[in-house]
């Protein structure tokens, strides 16, 4: 099941056989059922995970309400950035929105591969750059003051997501309530 990941890495930068073996040895396949939690608030995020199949969201709870912070699909990596890099407990939950399959690597295995295989740093750098680019788009969108503008920007940049994700999650992700989102969508039709 890890072969697509080896292929994915190879497409970014040709990897040595040894790194290919390490990816297969360290990678742990995790199957998540729809609505199953992968990370809970208060825990240290100990895995960087590639999404091989499915759709995952992260969120935190603010005054009793779940605030969605990210949606990630096939080919993307997911972790709780704050917790993974700081090695401290975070406030994020990670949950499958569809039946999903993740290829998971512990923090220690990631560091070992970075140390042992120079080319893994090329892959890590490029994957992190893509994530940075993705976060910049999110940040830019969240700075928009009009809810409708945020929704249009979301549709433009993530056209596949709004077909797959329940509206209630898109609403908190875009910093609006469900009624506002429904109104905007109604107007569009």
């Amino acid at each position: 099941m890890l072969q697509p990941l080896v292929k994915y890495c190879n497409a970014i930068c040709p990897i040595s056989d040894k790194l290919g073996e390490a990816l297969l040895e360290y990678g742990e396949i995790i199957h998540l059922k729809k609505d199953e939690l992968f990370l809970k608030a208060g825990m240290v995020s100990n895995h960087a995970s590639w999404i091989l199949k499915g759709l995952v969201r992260s969120y935190y709870v603010r005054e009793g309400e779940e605030i969605t912070t990210k949606f990630l699909t096939e080919g993307a990596t997911i972790t709780s950035i704050y917790s993974f890099y700081s090695r401290k407990p975070g406030n994020e939950y990670i949950m499958a929105l569809e039946d999903s399959v993740l290829a998971c690597f512990t923090y220690d295995h990631m560091q070992r591969m970075y140390k042992d295989f120079p080319e893994f740093n090329v892959i890590g750098r490029i994957v992190t750059e893509r994530y940075l680019y993705f976060l910049e788009i999110e940040l830019y969108n969240l700075r928009k003051t009009k809810a409708e503008d945020r929704y249009q920007y979301f549709i433009k940049h993530f056209p596949d997501l709004h077909q797959r994700v329940p509206l209630k999650y898109i609403a908190t992700y875009l910093g609006m309530n469900l009624e506002t989102l429904s109104r905007i969508r109604g107007k569009k039709k």
Copy 2:
């Protein structure tokens, strides 16, 4: 003037003499006066820059108002993430808030160093991870609905900045108007 950068890289990962020479050869020192622009909207961001001295902000113009998107100080890197990675013109301006000194590398030189020196990918990966962590903190803060909470979070995470940055820039950065920010600060005293 580029020696501090070589030292900075060496502290992240021991670099070869050849990479040290490439950094000195490709690095261009740029001096910016306070309020001087380094990047304008509509241009392709062609440099990744290390701030050797000073304080820089990025912003874009929304309905005639400058919306500050980042403050970056000594030791940080600055570029227009969207434009630099997409190689397309962006809408961001980069401006010095104090007399500043930048060590600038063109996109092509960055790619060449990544290609020629495996260890530069280690540095690039770690610097990008730090930036990612920084953006995640910004994103988390922007999702807070109460202006006062955003200000407190900003003070906590960037205690040095609010001494160095004019209030009007902090206000748009935190998604509030100057009156709101002044009121929050007044209450605190």
